[in-house]
């Protein structure tokens, strides 16, 4: 099914029929959320999976997110960052075929990672966070 290649490389992914593979993850929302709908038909309940499509923007503007961003900035090694570009010049960007998440996984996640986590907290008394 997939045509994609690794790291700007050459070999086409020889996936026979990608569906049973990890590749399903990245197209899950297409299968569940897009596609033709016929109004008069019944749709199976997707409870528990709907969480995938929560809009990231909802999460951006919250005190919780601000504090996470502040913390992430505080932790940042600014000196290491300045040197990084030189070291990485030869490394091409990742264009991954596999549904498994690449190196950046959990990165932005530092702030937005646990969407479920954040929503859980909303249920508790906000004073707990202070």
């Amino acid at each position: 099914m997939t045509v994609m290649t690794q790291s700007g490389g050459i070999q086409p992914a020889a996936t026979s029929s990608g569906s049973g593979t990890a590749g399903l993850f990245d197209i899950l929302e297409l299968i569940l959320d897009r596609g033709l709908v016929i109004d008069v038909f019944v749709r199976v309940s997707l409870v528990g999976i709907e969480i995938l499509k929560i809009d990231i923007r909802i999460v951006i503007a919250s005190v919780d997110t601000y504090l996470r961003f502040a913390e992430a900035c505080n932790r940042l090694d600014l000196e290491a960052g300045r040197k990084a570009p030189d070291k990485l010049t030869d490394i091409v960007g990742n264009l991954v075929e596999s549904g498994a998440r690449g190196k950046t996984s959990g990165a932005i996640g530092g702030a937005i990672d646990a969407i479920g986590d954040i929503f859980d907290r909303d249920d508790k008394d906000r004073e707990d966070e202070r």
Binding site: S19, D26, L28, I31, L32, R34, G35, F41, R43, V44
Partner: protein, 239 residues
């Protein structure tokens, strides 16, 4: 419950090779075809207690892949159940011209979905480099000093910058690939991603499109993670 699970709509003259395909729900009877006028629907017996399990999502997707190999297909969203065959035929009749037209428009095309993420550290460094105020606030909150308000101000400033930069980059990336596609649809990115976009690409340009995706990934560099998937059934362009 009786009833039928509906997979896809195609033209009646589609080869509809369904041999060896498993069904959603793993029911015994294989998928079958309902022809109505110029259209056909692929269905199977509705499974009891249908849930979006990995295996079932895979079965749904595999069937689309098989169909798209031989012609145009309107893939249904996962999980649609009709009460019986008659209801499916009635639905085909009701939108007959609409479906036929869309199948014609989708002829010789496929969907490509692109998701993009960026290393948070890389993005934060860029934000701090570009803002004196953010650097100042970061400095004064760094070693545990600074007030709660300072931390909040830093976080808010950075969050806004992150959001603005991500939107701008998403626009840039879409603009670079749009010229090679017939249409594009933006969707909400999830989790770490800042971009989630689907393109409708003509098969004749598929190689060119894939190459453009690779070039783009190289240009943006190692701090980015691009996941380009395709050719896919045109889920985003079927409705």
């Amino acid at each position: 419950m009786s009833g039928v699970y509906v997979y896809a709509v195609t033209r009646a003259d589609h080869p509809l090779r369904l041999d060896g395909l498993r069904t959603v729900g793993g029911t015994d009877e294989p998928p079958r075809v309902l022809v109505h006028g110029p259209l056909a629907a692929v269905v199977s017996a509705a499974p009891p207690d249908l849930r979006p399990k990995r295996r079932d999502l895979g079965a749904h997707q595999e069937l689309q892949e098989r169909l798209m190999a031989d012609g145009s297909v309107l893939p249904m969203r996962f999980g649609l159940l009709a009460p019986d065959d008659t209801a499916v035929r009635t639905a085909l009749e009701a939108k007959r011209d609409d479906y036929a037209r869309r199948l014609g428009e989708l002829h010789g095309t496929a969907e490509y979905n692109l998701k993009a993420a960026r290393s948070q550290d890389d993005l934060l460094r860029e934000v701090l480099d570009g803002s004196d105020e953010a650097r100042r606030l970061n400095q004064c909150t760094r070693d545990g000093t600074g007030t709660y308000e300072d931390r909040l101000a830093l976080g808010e400033l950075v969050a806004r910058q992150v959001d603005a930069r991500q939107r701008r980059q998403a626009d840039e990336i879409v603009a670079r690939l749009s010229g090679l596609a017939r249409a594009s649809v933006l969707a909400d990115p999830s989790k770490d991603d800042f971009l989630n976009v689907s393109f409708l690409v003509e098969r004749a340009r598929a190689d060119e499109f894939g190459e453009a995706g690779r070039t783009l990934a190289q240009d943006y560099g190692a701090a980015y993670d691009f996941r380009l998937r395709g050719p896919l059934p045109p889920y985003s362009f079927a409705a």
